[in-house]
Symmetry: C2
Subunit: 313 residues, 2 copies
């Protein structure tokens, strides 16, 4: 892993996740040791942050700050206070990005409220990057928008195209709509409405709608660089594929981080699985640092708002 230049200040929610705080401590430590220009803002109980500080070399401790969240927060079940505080640090300019493995709903709500949504985006989208036989594919939404309307799906298609162009340096981006057949009109009610809308739409960043794609296209990667779907189907497919890929260790070595980015809010927000491991947390933190250093969110917002892009009707 090559570390890119530039300081990145990442707020980490110590209380988020099924195995918090242990795996978050582990992930934060690894991330910190792997990237000498990484600064962490640890949000959570002082004793947990203290564990991380104690394990670091004295010189590395200078890169870690803490924001104490009431010691009773974890025991009392008020886990949202951690992610809310971490997101506020980004809103206040104290951190460049936030990482949480806590409840997706709580993170999305905190981000929408504290950072603000992009104009025209009703509901942010979680975008995951998956390895494919032919390269990488951006799958969105993987869990932020439940029962979305077609305008939401169209907005996500635009965000996804701009994200893939920015993150993967693509000149043209093929955007597919996930369905259960490839002939126009295949799928359920939402898909039958969304297909024609995407067909009419002008996508940003060299985006081109390629029509309906299927579950296997997210594995093969030959037909689309971006696959757009609702948060239910996207989450089910992502969790299934990640579990299937985890059975074949050989494929995992060059795999993208098992973390998703929240698109459509004014800031860099990375969400890890509730069941994330220390490895996953470390790669989620590294992803957040990468997105900040490459100014991915600002660049994709400029692409989405740029001339020639037509907002979804």
């Amino acid at each position: 892993v090559t570390v890119e230049p530039g300081t990145a200040r990442i707020a980490v929610d110590l209380l988020g996740g099924d195995h918090a705080p242990a795996v978050v401590v582990d992930g934060a430590l690894r991330a910190c040791q792997a990237d000498p220009a990484l600064h962490l803002l640890l949000v959570g109980p002082v004793e947990v942050a203290g564990e991380i500080l104690a394990a670091l070399d004295p010189v590395d401790r200078l890169r870690v700050r803490t924001a104490s969240v009431g010691a009773g927060a974890h025991a009392g079940g008020h886990l949202e206070v951690g992610v809310r505080t971490a997101v506020l640090a980004v809103a206040d300019g104290v951190a460049d990005a936030v990482v949480s493995a806590g409840s997706t709903g709580a993170t999305v709500t905190a981000a929408a409220l504290s950072l603000g949504r992009r104009p025209g985006i009703r509901r942010p989208a979680l975008a995951a990057v998956l390895p494919t036989v032919a390269g990488r594919v951006v799958l969105l939404d993987v869990g932020a928008s439940i029962d979305p309307d077609t305008a939401t799906i169209a907005g996500h298609a635009a965000l996804g195209a701009a994200y893939a162009a920015t993150l993967h340096g693509l000149d043209t981006v093929r955007v597919g709509l996930l369905s259960i057949g490839t002939e126009p009109g295949k799928g359920d009610r939402v898909r039958r409405d969304a297909g024609p809308l995407l067909q009419r739409m002008r996508l940003p960043a060299g985006g081109r709608y390629v029509g309906l794609v299927e579950g296997h296209d997210v594995v093969l990667g030959e037909r689309a660089d971006v696959v757009v779907t609702d948060g239910f189907a996207g989450n089910v497919l992502l969790k299934g594929l990640e579990a299937a890929y985890a059975l074949t260790p050989a494929r995992r070595r060059d795999a993208p981080p098992r973390a998703a980015v929240l698109l459509g809010v004014e800031g860099t927000v990375v969400v890890c699985h509730g069941a994330a491991t220390g490895d996953d947390l470390a790669s989620g933190i590294a992803l957040a640092a990468h997105l900040h250093r490459r100014a991915v969110v600002a660049t994709l917002h400029a692409l989405v708002s740029g001339p020639g892009t037509q907002a979804a009707q």
Copy 2:
């Protein structure tokens, strides 16, 4: 592969599938050669059936009959006539089961009309069996019911429990509802309604509702023997996982057939992918023969209608 005793007469739709008739010819030939008690009713153009007959030993030809479907059917795009004729052969008692790789919609419609649906089943379900780390899991529906209501999902849960009990010889069957989190109430509108209904329902065949499960549970197999969902999410997940598993040839050797069974109709109907290979067709035909020989459909119907089973409200 051990061949079970007993004649099985399988009607095969020669025109169904993206690569028909070539792969169907290939699959029918392999199935016929592998199972000396298999009888085939080839439904399609005479010249295609003739190809299969020509490739068989004279003695094996005695096990093959043909039902000619107008030579123009394929060219004219009237592919449904093939599957309709094949399903009618089962309805008329001329065949014991039917196999098609054609349009799922056409097969479901033909089966519902010609064979009839089970009482209380508004929409049949396609059930696929997937390999898991812990055993096998029945996933349904994988494409027959689009935008189902909760009563349809509840009916499918009952069919799935009875199918798993019959096919896999289970005394108790754990049934999970696919969602995007495990706490009660997680998921979209349909899932939030279906969860409480499944909780109240009495499932047949030692079925027990275990609550919400996630995409990775279909891979790991630790939490449920049957995973019930709508045809959209089920199809997307199935196609994704099958493609992922196909990348790891080692896992495929003992894999269950890549074919789905239509549950909720009065007969044995096996559906292969549109993109099925000759191998897939052969294993779909073998599955149809197995289901007939073990009287799986009759047994599961008796279980679903048996005492102690409560129909979905």
